[in-house]
Symmetry: C2
Subunit: 344 residues, 2 copies
DNA sequence: CTGAAAGCGCTTACAG
DNA sequence: CTGAAAGCGCTTACAG
C-alpha cells in the first residue's frame, strides 16, 4: 500500500543517518546503548526531517496507552460546571500530566447507558469512576467497566466488596456532615431542612447520613428533607420558597454550596436574615464559595487531592500490579462563615 | 514474539466463526458486504469470546485518531475552575462525543512552554487553542502547533493572517464591552476603574477595548486600570480595597464576574453600596453568576456555543479539507442586574 | 555498539 | 459474498 501521508518515520531517519531503524528507536527512547557519535547523527537527521515519533504506533506496539479514562455518570451533560468535579479533574490532570499520562473524559447520562457501547473508543491503562444513581445502578456500571479489564479507582464512593482490581479514594463526607450537625446543634438549632435532589450521589448521601447520625441521639432534633427535582438555582429556590410558606426550620442544610446559596436567596426573599432568623450551611468551600455573601458556613472539600491521590493510586497499581490502598479517606474541615450563629 | 496479553483478536473470532479476519472486520464496521448468516455466526463468536475491537490498532491502521486536542496556555494550572473554560469544554465534548470523537485536554504554563516537548504524546486529528499571553507569544504557540500539521481552531482569539489551516471561533467580547460602557454612560457614570490582570487573555482585552471605544467620544469620561497580580479573590479584593483608600470611581468594571464580585466585596467593606454609591459590572453570566448577591449586571457569554461551534467547524474541516468559516463571531447580550442604576 | 527479523491488530486493495 | 497478502510505525528479543 502507498503511504497515506508523507510524515517521516524511523526508517527515513535511519536512512539519512546511515543506521538501522532500531538505533533510531534507541536514541529517541534514550535507551543509552548507542554511541555518542551515532546518536548525534541520528538527532541531526531527526532535526533535518522534522521527525516526530508516532504515539499511536508506539501505543500499538507496546500495548500501553499512557492514558487514564475518567467516566462520569451524570444526568447533567454539563457536569464540568460542578466545582467539585472541576477540582477533581484538576487534581487528576496535575498528577497525570507530570508523568506523561493523559486523561480522557467521558460523560454518560444514566438513561443512555448501554454496556455494549459505553466504552467504545475508550482504550486506557486505567479507569477512574465518578458514579451517581442508586447502589444497584452503580454496581451495574462498575460491573460493566470491569469488562475493560483495567485497574479502576472509584472516587467519592465507598468500596465494593470482592473486587480486587477496584479501589476507592474519597473524602470524609460522612464526617463532614457530622461536623456541621454538631456545630448547628451547639447553636441551639433543632429543626433542620435538608435539601436533597433526585439524582443520587454517594458522596452527598454520605454527607446527609453523617449529619443524621449526630441528630439521632438528640431529643427534640428533627430533620425534614426538601426534595428538589434538580440542583439548579431556579428549582432549589422555588422548592425552598414554597416550603417556607408552610413553615420555618432553624437551619437549612445544603449538601453543596450551590444549593445552600440558592436556598439562602429564597429565605432572604421571605424576609429571613441569616443567621438570626434562619441558619444555612453548605458543603465544598471551593472556587466561587469565597464570593458568597454572606460568607457561607461550609465544610471544605479536597476535590483536588481526591483527584490527585486517585491518579497516583491508580498509576502505582499499574506499575506494581496491585493497589497499595483499597480505601483512602481524606479529611475535611469545618469552616465557620456568617450564615450560622456562634455558640449560644 | 509471544502475545503480551490474552485479549481475543479478529483472528480468534475468525477461527471460531470459520471465516477470515477481514470478514470479521467487515461485520464489526458494518460494511454491509457480508451475508446475514455469516454475519450472525461472527456476532456469536464475538459474544462468546468477549471480543472488543482494539481502538489503538484501528487508529494505527487508518492513521486517524477520532480525537481532538484542546491546548490551554494558562499560568494557572487549575484552569478548569474558570467558569468560561468549563463551559467551553462542555460545548466541545457535547459535540464531539455525539460523533464518536474524544477530547484530550492539555494545560501548559507559559513559563514551561517548550516547542519540542509541548505536544509529546499528543496525536489528534485536530486542535483547539485557548491562548493567553502577549500577541507575539501567542503567535509563537500557534507556530509551534502548526508543526503538528493538523487543522486548528483558535477560540476567543481573532484570526491570524495568512494561515490557512487555522480558523477562529469567538464571541463578540468587543461588542459586549461596548454594551456595558453605553449602559454605564446612560446611568451618568463618567469615572471608571477597570480591573485587569497581568496574564493577558485576548478575549478579556477585547472586552476592555470595546469598553474604551465607547468612552473615546464622551467628553469627561475617564478610565483607569487597576492592575491585579492575578484574578484570585484575595488579590482583587486587596487591590480594589487599597485603591478605594485613595479615590472612588463611579463604576468598577470587572472583565469577568469573579473579579467583579471580588471588587464588590471590597467596596461593600468600605461602606459603599451598589449601585447607589458605586456601580459594578461583570462579564460572563455563567453558572455561579445566578448566585451572586446582589445580582450582578453582566454580559452573558456563550462559552458552550463557542466550544460547540469550534468542534463542529473543526470536524467539518477534517471531513471537507477546508474551513467553511475562518472567523466565527457569536453574539452576546447585556443582562441588567442590581449593581448598576437604571437610566438617570 | 549495531542490525535483520518478526510481529503487535487491524483494514485496504485486489482476486476469485 | 469471501479470502490471502501486504503493510501501517514501532520496538523486543536475539545475533553478531
Amino acid at each position: 500500500m502507498a503511504k497515506t501521508n508523507n510524515k517521516p518515520t524511523v526508517k527515513d531517519v535511519a536512512r539519512i543517518a546511515g543506521v538501522s531503524p532500531m538505533t533510531v528507536s534507541n536514541v529517541i527512547n534514550a535507551s543509552g546503548r548507542v554511541g555518542e557519535e551515532t546518536a548525534d547523527r541520528v538527532r541531526e537527521a531527526i532535526q533535518q526531517l522534522g521527525y516526530r515519533q508516532s504515539t499511536t504506533a508506539r501505543r500499538f506496539r507496546l500495548s500501553k496507552q499512557w492514558a487514564i479514562g475518567l467516566l462520569v455518570i451524570d444526568e447533567n451533560p454539563n457536569f464540568l460546571s460542578d466545582p467539585f468535579t472541576a477540582e477533581l479533574i484538576s487534581g487528576l490532570t496535575n498528577y497525570l500530566t507530570n508523568i506523561g499520562y493523559s486523561l480522557t473524559i467521558r460523560g454518560i447520562r444514566p438513561s443512555r447507558f448501554d454496556a455494549r457501547n459505553a466504552f467504545k473508543g475508550i482504550e486506557t491503562d486505567g479507569l477512574v469512576l465518578l458514579l451517581s444513581g442508586k447502589q444497584n445502578a452503580r454496581l451495574k456500571y462498575v460491573r460493566a467497566t470491569q469488562e475493560l479489564k483495567v485497574p479502576t479507582v472509584m472516587v467519592q464512593e465507598p468500596p465494593f466488596a470482592g473486587m480486587a482490581a477496584l479501589a476507592s479514594v474519597r473524602q470524609d463526607d460522612y464526617g463532614g456532615g457530622a461536623l456541621l450537625a454538631r456545630h448547628l446543634l451547639e447553636t441551639g438549632a433543632r429543626v433542620f431542612w435538608m435539601l436533597v435532589t433526585k439524582t443520587i450521589w454517594p458522596a452527598l448521601e454520605a454527607r446527609g447520613d453523617g449529619f443524621k447520625s449526630i441528630l439521632d441521639s438528640i431529643p427534640g432534633a428533627r430533620l425534614e428533607l426538601l426534595m428538589c427535582e434538580n440542583e439548579s438555582f431556579e428549582v432549589v429556590y422555588k422548592t425552598t420558597s414554597n416550603a417556607l410558606l408552610l413553615g420555618r426550620p432553624d437551619a437549612l442544610v445544603g449538601l453543596n454550596d450551590q444549593m445552600a446559596i440558592s436556598a439562602l436567596r429564597a429565605a432572604q426573599d421571605h424576609g429571613l436574615a441569616a443567621p438570626d432568623d434562619i441558619q444555612i450551611t453548605g458543603f465544598n468551600g471551593l472556587a466561587f464559595w469565597k464570593l458568597t455573601n454572606p460568607r457561607l458556613t461550609t465544610v471544605q472539600s479536597c476535590g483536588h487531592d481526591v483527584g490527585y491521590q486517585a491518579a497516583k493510586n491508580l498509576v502505582d497499581a499499574l506499575n506494581t500490579g496491585t493497589f497499595s490502598q483499597n480505601d483512602m479517606v481524606l479529611p475535611v474541615r469545618l469552616y465557620l462563615g456568617q450564615t450560622t450563629s456562634s455558640r449560644k
